[in-house]
């Protein structure tokens, strides 16, 4: 969408050299650059909010010193920046016994997975980098790339903790893709499309047209999807791959400096993607909750980001409340609770569509 839009714009601006391949490259690179900038700013924002929310929950203030106005500034607004600078200027250590090429490859792979998923996230009617007809399928597919990266990271570190972490995360992410997928199947059944924009279009017309309120089964589907999303992004209570009191730091045990920062950032980027998918599929995407109220293209970005951030906030909130599950309980939850209920939901919603819808 956006690529075509920019390409057309460039062609109109310079009619003499219209249709140039160079313009196409610019038209592709510009949104990617914007995306990178967005991820960075978003990363700072979400890390800051994670720190602050956790601090307030724990009766602390969180960082207060690092803010505008040098030392003793207000609210520690620049704390994530300081963290980032610290991580990026740290010594880059590669353990002697590590499998070097794979060790270097792993963080890039996980970041690519997070980044490429972003291009199918719709922020407005026109504001989507590529409007694919299988958008939701694409995001789920690209999201599983992370599994390979995590196994690579765990294996190549040549550390027992990292190996445990890698293996746990592989089992966990692959398993939880099934309930997440099943939940999305229900949405696809309702919207009869894999296209993100069409799913959003199905939910047009305010709060009560959202898929989550479509029929009595949808809240359950949403909860299953959201919890599976937590598991896929390795967030507490499913942070077994990096459970700090058991596995030291799991698959990132041997990573430091920039590489660690990339792992860190991709975790938060994944959170955004999965929350955006949840917001698109269940909460009406960029639609305003009220029909004809602030429902312009500019506001659509606001609605989309605020819905996504609400879900991210819930993720943070859950993280600082509950303890962690054990490996077998995690699998128990997935295979014996979510998948049966998810399949039941598919069945029930199908009947609902035939009978009532």
């Amino acid at each position: 969408m956006t690529v075509d839009f920019i390409f057309d714009g460039l062609n109109q601006l310079f009619p003499a050299v219209a249709g140039n391949d160079f313009f196409l490259i610019i038209a592709m690179l510009l949104p990617v650059a914007a995306l990178l900038g967005f991820i960075t700013i978003y990363g700072f924002g979400v890390i800051y909010s994670e720190i602050k929310v956790s601090s307030f929950i724990q009766d602390k203030t969180g960082p207060m010193g690092q803010g505008p106005g040098l030392h003793a500034g207000k609210w520690g607004l620049l704390q994530p920046v300081a963290d980032g600078i610290k991580l990026f200027i740290k010594e880059d250590i590669i353990p002697a016994s590590a499998d070097k090429p794979l060790f270097i490859l792993a963080p890039f792979l996980i970041f690519i997975g997070a980044l490429t998923a972003f291009i199918a996230v719709p922020f407005g009617e026109k504001i989507i980098i590529v409007d694919m007809n299988i958008g939701i399928f694409y995001i789920i597919g690209v999201g599983s790339l992370a599994v390979i990266a995590l196994i690579l990271a765990g294996w190549s570190s040549n550390n027992k903790w990292a190996l445990f972490g890698g293996m746990r995360s592989a089992a966990q992410i692959i398993s939880y893709e099934i309930p997440a997928g099943i939940s999305l199947v229900v949405v696809i059944m309702l919207a009869s499309s894999l296209n993100m924009q069409e799913i959003i279009a199905y939910q047009e017309g305010g709060l009560f047209n959202w898929i989550i309120f479509d029929n009595p089964f949808m809240p359950i589907v949403f909860v299953i999807f959201f919890i599976s999303a937590l598991a896929e992004t390795n967030r507490t209570p499913f942070d077994l791959p990096e459970s700090e009191s058991e596995l030291v730091a799991g698959f990132v045990t041997e990573y430091s400096g920039t590489r660690y920062a990339i792992f860190f950032l991709s975790e938060y980027a994944n959170m955004f993607v999965i929350s955006a998918v949840a917001a698109t599929a269940f909460l009406g995407g960029w639609q305003s909750p009220f029909e004809n109220f602030l429902n312009t293209p500019a506001w659509s970005v606001f609605w989309m980001i605020s819905k996504t951030f609400f879900l991210i906030f819930v993720m943070i909130w859950v993280r600082w409340t509950v303890p962690r599950l054990r490996v077998d309980q995690l699998m128990h939850l997935c295979w014996k609770v979510f998948i049966p209920i998810g399949l039941f939901n598919v069945f029930a919603v199908a009947i609902w569509i035939v009978v009532i819808g």
Binding site: S243, E244, S245, E246, R324, R326, V327
Partner: protein, 373 residues
Amino acid sequence: MGVVHGEEMVLNIGPQHPATHGVLRLQVRTDGEVVSQITPYMGYLHRCFEKHSENVTYEQVIPFTDRCDYLSSMSMNFGYVVAMERLMEIKVNDRVEHIRVVMAELQRIASHLLCTGVFGLDLGAFTPFLWALRDRERILDLFELTCGARLLYNYMWVGGLSHDIPVGFVESTFEFLDYFEPKVDELENILAHNKILVERSADIGVMPKDVAISYGVTGPNLRASGVKWDLRKNDPYSIYDRFEFDVPIGEGQKGTVGDCWDRFYVRIIEIRESVKIIRQALASMPKEGDVHQSLPKKIRPPKGSVYARTETPRGDLGYYIESDGSPIPYRVKMRSPAFTALSVLDEIGAGWLLSDVLAILGSLDIVLGEIDR
């Protein structure tokens, strides 16, 4: 589980590991995540307490007892002075006894708070840990008010106390207790009944009665196994026989008697019982009485030996003191409760998953300073 057998792997948990509560090294043999054998290695924090004691005078041992179990220094002092007073046949006045009981019980609350918080932390719940630490700080403030130190007090002396409690201590302790009691409920609500924590700890690491007794496990760990054994009730030292309190035992509410959850929950109930004792002790504390009244001029116990036990937050603390009549102890042996608690880890921890082993370790509430001495 256990059907597919792979190659066994030796894994070193520690000496630097977030879950070992200090510098403990656990060498575990694992098959996948199933642990088949745990061999603890300690001594990383060995500070030669017993050898030191043979080279300093009796009163100078007290600062060293502080440092053995740095999370319950008051109880450590208490055990030592009880042993010494039994050896020298000193009887201290009521005010001293009341103050000692108040201090020991406050210390018990502080220690149990930390333990329950850290148990949650071991299972991944970070927030209750910080709440527990926040309330523990209030207790440390009370100690600072009393003796100027927050962690290592050297407050109880043989035959008395280093000084009297300050004016306003009683009021601020009551104030603290009023503030604190709802916080225990909150801690219990967020942690103890949480389904995930119950799943993680109920039926895990079950310690049967006979195993616990054979391994010399004492304190809350033994009580969680269903043995009603508390030295404050069964062999009352100081003035514990004057107070009314219950001895909570594990009832297997969420699983089997003697599992991790029982060990954890017994501590939460004990916090409440300690609050009761403190309230009674503060109410009945005599206003008059010199804390230095029976302080001996020179500590020179008669020739002989004494073995005295007291109930610290972690269990029976025994001091075996052999005196040869000189002002320097001939031999001081500390029977530390955490030492016996750690020795049972292999027995109850083998066969569980790696995550469970760390949960069991957390539920045993060990302090490495006391194990290594």
